[in-house]
């Protein structure tokens, strides 16, 4: 298993697709920063028009913490989409090139092969979110500097710079669970559909439906609390005035359970099905 995992990581490192994925993430960060630089101040002025006379803010509100918060919002759609496309490509390109077959012509067990793919995907995802976090924190602080954070979540909330930084960091860590879920779901869809274009379409559809269902009322408390579309907002809870750590832990634990379930389903299907129909 160790060898298989090392091979999978080696392949990820050598594939151009990996670097396109990383580049897309960095371009996204740059785009958010440029947009914020040119349009952010006007937006902030409109948002804070009524309260600017009553409150005194420390420093410029268009600062690194706000930029990091804006980048965090890419966890709703952009980062999961990039992840699902790249990760599903790790398997669909192998189906297309016939290398899945080629590997299994050797004394390699199917379940170990696919499990190592899931593990390599998890490592890649954690690294990608880590790179996103590092790139965002460093570039935002270099170009915008620190300051208080203002967020609009059921109402306006303000956090001092140090407090904001802790909350942003926690939100990124929580975001890892969300990114992992989508990456594993993407790989499972690749196991199911094998063909890259179909997998990408289904992945995008999955992402859209999941995001839409987040605010949908199922009328049953269990579904409203524990169905996976309801668990992809855990990072946002770090921006409530009193952080509900218990809710965050439960959401992340259940989402991680779903991640394992998706992975096990993929492993089972890969093991059970003919490699090529």
């Amino acid at each position: 298993m160790k060898e298989l995992l090392a091979v999978e990581l080696f392949k990820i490192r050598k594939q151009r697709m990996t670097f396109y994925g990383l580049a897309a993430v960095l371009v996204l960060v740059a785009f958010i920063m440029v947009s914020a630089f040119f349009q952010g101040r006007g937006f902030l002025d409109i948002m804070l028009k009524n309260i600017q006379d009553s409150f005194e803010f420390q420093g410029d509100l268009l600062n690194a913490n706000l930029i990091i918060y804006l980048v965090l919002n890419s966890l709703w759609f952009h980062i999961p989409l990039i992840l699902m496309v790249v990760v599903s490509g790790f398997l669909t390109t192998e189906y297309k090139d016939g290398t899945v077959e080629a590997v299994l012509l050797h004394p390699v067990s199917r379940w170990k092969f696919i499990t190592s793919k899931y593990l390599a995907t998890a490592i890649f995802t954690i690294l990608l979110v880590g790179i996103l976090m590092m790139a965002t924190f460093i570039s935002a602080y270099i170009f915008f500097g620190g300051g208080d954070l203002v967020v609009f979540l059921d109402g306006l909330s303000f956090y001092e710079s140090g407090e904001a930084l802790r909350r942003l960091f926690g939100a990124f860590l929580s975001g890892i669970f969300i990114a992992l879920f989508y990456a594993v779901a993407g790989l499972t869809l690749a196991v199911l559909f094998r063909e890259s274009t179909i997998t990408w379409i289904v992945s995008a559809f999955f992402l859209i439906v999941t995001t839409m269902l987040l605010k949908y009322d199922f009328g049953w408390s269990v579904l409203n609390s524990y169905f996976f579309p309801k668990l992809i907002d855990s990072w946002q809870y770090f921006f409530y005035y009193d952080i509900p750590f218990n809710t965050i832990w439960i959401k992340n634990a259940v989402l991680f359970g779903y991640t394992i379930l998706f992975a096990l389903t993929g492993i089972w299907i890969f093991n059970k099905r003919d490699i090529k129909p």
Partner: protein, 285 residues
């Protein structure tokens, strides 16, 4: 016997692609599986490699080695973005083999590839990919190699040298070889035993020379002055400049050649024309 396939049946939906297929391979022998496209050759190979499961029947591999079977199905699948060495490294590591530089060079030399070339294999020619695919198959010393259409895309020189390589592997390393092809002439000189597949069935099997002899009812004779031969005209031969295609009938090809030489023709060569259509029939006419 290293490999024995017994009464394999396989259907995809309502279409039965393999019907009670049986075959076996011995060490040091080259076995051929000939059949037209869609005869079920690749499906059979995938079943042997356990890539797909048969509806019924068994595949027995009599081996205690780490890697009883090696080979490729359809075409050698390689990681196009990796170099030859990285490809071999990946496949070696999957099998927990430490691919040392000496072993790498030895493998590349064996299959006739340049060990110093380090560009991605997507830039390799078809023949070079076939050779690299064979190198991947030969890692970890399999006792039987199974190659699906290994000659497709090769030029005549590449084809000949690849055939020599396979023959040498069987003879010197005592490896059992099973090769599938839809081209009769690829396997004619190479195989000891032949299996003829058609529409999912093995319709015929036996010694390659005997089968080819039985299926050779016409001959192409090369030489000169064939237009003046009454014998060829009487046999309804297709005569063109420098050669004639003739079906000799009961008297045999030897008698035909004697007659046309007596008629003043010169003969430089006579090549039997093996009919795949005839081989694909369950009974010879």
């Amino acid at each position: 016997m290293i490999l024995h396939v017994d009464k394999i049946n396989k259907s995809f939906g309502s279409r039965q692609v393999l019907k009670s297929v049986s075959l076996s391979c011995d060490k040091g022998k080259v076995n051929g599986l000939i059949g037209p496209n869609g005869a079920g050759k690749s499906t059979l190979f995938r079943i042997i490699f356990d890539l797909i499961r048969p509806d019924s029947g068994t595949v027995s591999v009599c081996s205690t080695s780490n890697k009883p079977l090696g080979g490729f199905v359809d075409k050698p699948a390689l990681y196009g973005y990796l170099s030859a060495r990285d490809n071999l490294r990946v496949f070696a590591r999957l099998q927990k083999i430490d691919l040392r530089i000496e072993h790498y060079k030895e493998l590349m030399e064996l299959v006739g590839l340049d060990a110093l070339r380090d560009d991605p294999v997507k830039y390799y020619s078809t023949g070079m990919k076939q050779r690299l695919g064979l190198a991947v198959s030969l890692m970890n010393d399999p006792e039987c190699i199974i190659l699906d259409e290994p000659f497709s895309g090769l030029d005549p020189f590449g084809n000949r040298s690849f055939q020599n390589l396979i023959r040498e592997l069987a003879r010197t390393k005592n490896i059992a070889v099973l090769i599938a092809s839809h081209n009769l002439y690829d396997l004619g000189d190479l195989c000891d035993e032949l299996y003829i597949a058609n529409q999912g069935e093995i319709v015929r099997q036996g010694n390659a020379t005997d089968l080819f002899h039985m299926a050779s009812i016409s001959y192409r004779i090369y030489g000169d002055l064939f237009f003046q031969s009454n014998t060829l005209k009487q046999l309804g031969a297709e005569i063109s400049e420098g050669n004639a295609l003739v079906i000799p009938g009961k008297e045999g090809i030897e008698a035909v050649i004697c007659n046309i030489i007596e008629e003043g023709c010169s003969v430089s060569a006579c090549i039997p024309q093996t009919s795949l259509e005839l081989l694909l029939q369950k009974e010879f006419p």
